[in-house]
């Protein structure tokens, strides 16, 4: 079956190295909590909404608890202890009182702690049960309407900044053949340490991810699914400083896929590495539970580094993302591991090299859907050449059995896609898939040809890189600090969001992590 005839021993070695690089990170993630994990727990317990200034109640409550008793024991014990002591009737009322400082928190001990533990677990379990019901509902709707008719799923982006503009655009994109709609977030959102609230109409190059925006778009696409007789999936971003909370909101509002990369925030947003890995693990546990497919962000490496020289960093990151994802409970079908068509088209054999890289990903992760990202770096504004390049991108996707194909726009780097750009792009995809979709069956690269040799070389370089990572004193954290990925150096004690991290104390209690670890 293997067209590249990769050495199984090398593949095993690569996975083993990824595990060795990842294990210390998982240990670290288990030993810490963050403000975002604690707020996500409160959201699972049903606390929603924001005060008049737009600060969410979960922030108000978590901050108040943290100020009084610290973060290291988790917020659940102090919060439910306060409720059991009759400080307020429910979480919402407690958050309001906490915001004005009219409630005092303590860390309960003995029987009080036991009662708080039991009470919090029961409420959070209800939240998880709501996520379970949304997952069942998705499966039911797919049975009723039917699934996307073929692979790859066609993935289209909308990004107007206004959810009310996004909705008709998304519905039109679905009508034109999109299987997956992604709503790009406002550029500022990843660095906000709170999730904005409510329906939003203003954003920069994207629309804020809020629970209400999620709900509105999912409802609109449910309507489209009924109209079109196929279930249209919805994607957003669980990344940035609020990754765990957004994962919870996605589960509650039945989003279907989430962008969720293990290192993206560290490298590209300068978010603290510890914060990222702790948040990451929790968010992936939630995604696993919600039946959400994650999309990882390896394409980003190739936007800052050369796509040929850095090809092995993509493979390495895919292996790490796979390890972290499986450790968090995600299954193969949920791993939309990313990669991209970003080789300089002026390079000789660039398309053959793209094929080699794409086939390598396909063969290393045979049961993962794989997310295939279109050219951006070499889209110059020459829309005609860009249209051809996108055609070759689509062909590479068809030839290598990609699971999720992000539709490339010829106006990349020129304007946000126009209606006609999207229509032309979809016709490009459709033509290639219909004209050459079956070619994969017949396509076998020559045994020692350029493609096979290149794929082996990239895998070999990836093993070398993983070996170097595991040789660092603190493994992956040191490798991230010294710029191994994407040319950016990110030390473990730097970056945004570090002040929201706490090492867990003895007796730390978080019903969400307990329940998620069990499942």
């Amino acid at each position: 079956m293997s067209a590249l005839d990769l050495d199984p021993t090398t593949i095993r070695q690569a996975r083993e190295l990824a595990r060795r690089a990842g294990e210390p990170i998982v240990r670290m993630a288990r030993e810490h909590t963050t403000v975002a994990v604690e707020r996500a727990t409160l959201r699972l317990a049903g606390l929603a909404g924001a005060d008049a200034e737009g600060t969410p109640w979960v922030n108000r409550l978590a901050d108040a608890v943290r100020d009084e008793v610290g973060l290291e024991h988790g917020v659940a014990l102090p919060v439910w202890d306060a409720l059991l002591r009759g400080e307020a009737d429910d979480l919402g009322a407690l958050a309001q009182k906490a915001a004005v400082g009219s409630v005092s928190f303590r860390l309960p001990t003995g029987a009080d702690a036991d009662r708080a533990r039991t009470a919090s677990s029961a409420v959070v379990a209800e939240g998880l049960a709501r996520i379970d019901r949304r997952r069942d509902e998705r499966e039911q709707l797919i049975r009723t309407h039917g699934d996307a008719p073929s692979k790859p799923w066609i993935y289209l982006i909308v990004a107007t900044g206004d959810i009310r503009e996004d909705i008709p655009q998304a519905q039109q994109a679905a009508r034109e053949g999109a299987d997956v709609i992604a709503v790009i977030r406002s550029t500022g959102q990843s660095l906000l340490d709170y999730v904005p609230e409510g329906e939003t109409h203003e954003g920069f190059a994207g629309t804020y991810a809020t629970q209400e925006n999620f709900r509105l778009m999912r409802a609109a696409l449910d309507e489209s699914s009924r109209e079109l007789g196929r279930y249209v999936r919805l994607t957003n971003y669980a990344s940035g400083l609020c990754m765990p909370e957004i994962a919870v909101l996605a589960g509650l509002e039945r989003l279907d896929m989430m962008l969720n990369d293990s290192m993206y925030g560290i490298l590209f947003r300068d978010i603290n590495p510890v914060r990222t890995f702790v948040d990451q693990r929790f968010s992936r546990q939630v995604h696993a539970r919600a039946g959400i497919i994650i999309n990882t962000g390896e394409d980003n490496y190739l936007t800052t580094a050369d796509a040929v020289e850095a090809a092995h960093t993509v493979t390495t990151s895919q292996l790490l993302n796979e390890y972290f994802a499986k450790e968090a409970g995600l299954e193969d079908w949920q791993l939309g591991l990313g990669h991209a068509f970003e080789i300089d088209p002026d390079l000789p054999d660039s398309f053959c090299l793209e094929l080699a890289h794409a086939m390598l990903a396909r063969e290393l992760f045979p049961d993962a859907p794989l997310k295939w990202m279109p050219p951006t770096r070499h889209m110059t504004g020459d829309v005609f050449r860009g249209y051809l390049l996108d055609g070759f991108f689509n062909l590479a996707g068809a030839l290598t059995g990609q699971g999720i194909l992000l539709v490339g726009m010829m106006t990349e780097a020129v304007v946000t896609p126009w209606l006609s750009d999207r229509d032309l792009a979809l016709r490009n995809v459709r033509y290639v898939l219909e004209a050459a979709g079956g070619l994969r069956e017949d396509f076998r690269p020559a045994p020692d040809g350029l493609i096979v040799t290149r794929a082996r070389q990239v895998l070999g370089e990836s093993v070398d890189l993983l070996t170097r990572i595991t040789a660092h004193e603190h493994g992956l954290l040191d490798a991230i600090a010294d710029g191994t990925f994407g040319l950016m150096r990110r030390p473990a004690d730097g970056g945004r969001g570090l002040d929201g991290v706490a090492e867990k104390a003895d007796g730390y209690h978080n019903p969400a992590t307990d329940l998620l670890e069990e499942s």
């Binding site: 900044g161 034109e176 550029t187 500022g188 920069f204 050369d306 040319l487």
Partner: protein, 246 residues
């Protein structure tokens, strides 16, 4: 020189345009497309392609002849007013004028998260076959990355004793790039004595290179700018400033 567009014969004036009208495809829609093309000065205009997109929109491709003449002598551009140097020459120029390394602080300010531009200029990797500023021995580069506050940028520029500050802006929604450039200029003007602030350079694919004065910065670099151009510009201006100070 007076010229006309060129299709396949000198002076034929042929152009092509494509656009969408928010009406269903019909004979009337095609006529409307031809009417628009005529108003744009295309005569004759040929609607060569019309395609319905959903129930309410039609996409057109139109070819046609325009009678307009363009005068290249009347075009205003910002010509390069500094010599283009090799990295070695830049290093020598800096050594000679500053007698120390030149400090360059770069960032994408505000909500802009696109580091593509600043990284292309600053990262060793560079752009268009030219190495970035980190590659220059006589340039110390402090790349603050994305979504940096103006105050943060200013504080770091002061701390590092920056000779030049590079601000990259890719996102242009609601003119964010212009807004952020002005904020940077205002903050630096307020924080430094007259003439004492570092060189301010903004760059991004959607800036007009002629807009520098209006934005309150020393230079605007547009689409396709290479690291070598930026380095040459900085070396030239820093040398000029050092000359003045002497």
């Amino acid at each position: 020189m007076i010229v006309r567009p060129y299709g396949d014969t000198t002076g034929d004036g042929m152009v092509q345009v494509s656009f969408t009208l928010p009406i269903p495809h019909s004979k009337v829609a095609e006529g409307a497309a031809a009417q628009l093309a005529a108003k744009m000065g295309m005569d004759p205009a040929m609607v060569v392609h019309a395609r319905p997109m959903g129930p309410g929109f039609t996409f057109f491709v139109v070819y046609g002849r325009v009678s307009h003449l363009v005068d290249t002598d009347a075009v205003e551009v910002v010509e390069r007013d500094y010599p283009l140097l090799t990295p070695a020459e830049v290093n020598t120029a800096i050594r000679r004028s500053l007698r120390r390394r030149m400090v360059v602080v770069g960032a994408c300010v505000g909500t802009d998260a696109h580091t593509v531009g600043i990284d292309a200029i600053l990262n060793v990797k560079g752009f268009a076959g030219e190495k970035g500023l980190e590659y220059y021995r006589e340039i110390k580069v402090v790349n603050l990355g994305a979504q940096v506050d103006v105050e943060q940028l200013l504080a770091r520029a002061v701390e590092e004793g920056a000779d030049a500050v590079l601000v990259s802006q890719v996102v242009t929604q609601r003119d964010a790039h212009l807004l952020h450039a002005r904020q940077v200029a205002a903050a630096f003007a307020a924080a430094y004595p007259d003439g004492g602030r570092p060189l301010l350079v903004v760059g991004g694919p959607r800036f007009e290179e002629s807009a520098a004065a209006g934005l309150g910065v020393d230079r605007v670099f547009g689409r396709g700018t290479t690291p070598g151009e930026v380095a040459s510009f900085l070396a030239d201006r820093v040398a000029a400033r050092a000359e003045l100070a002497r």
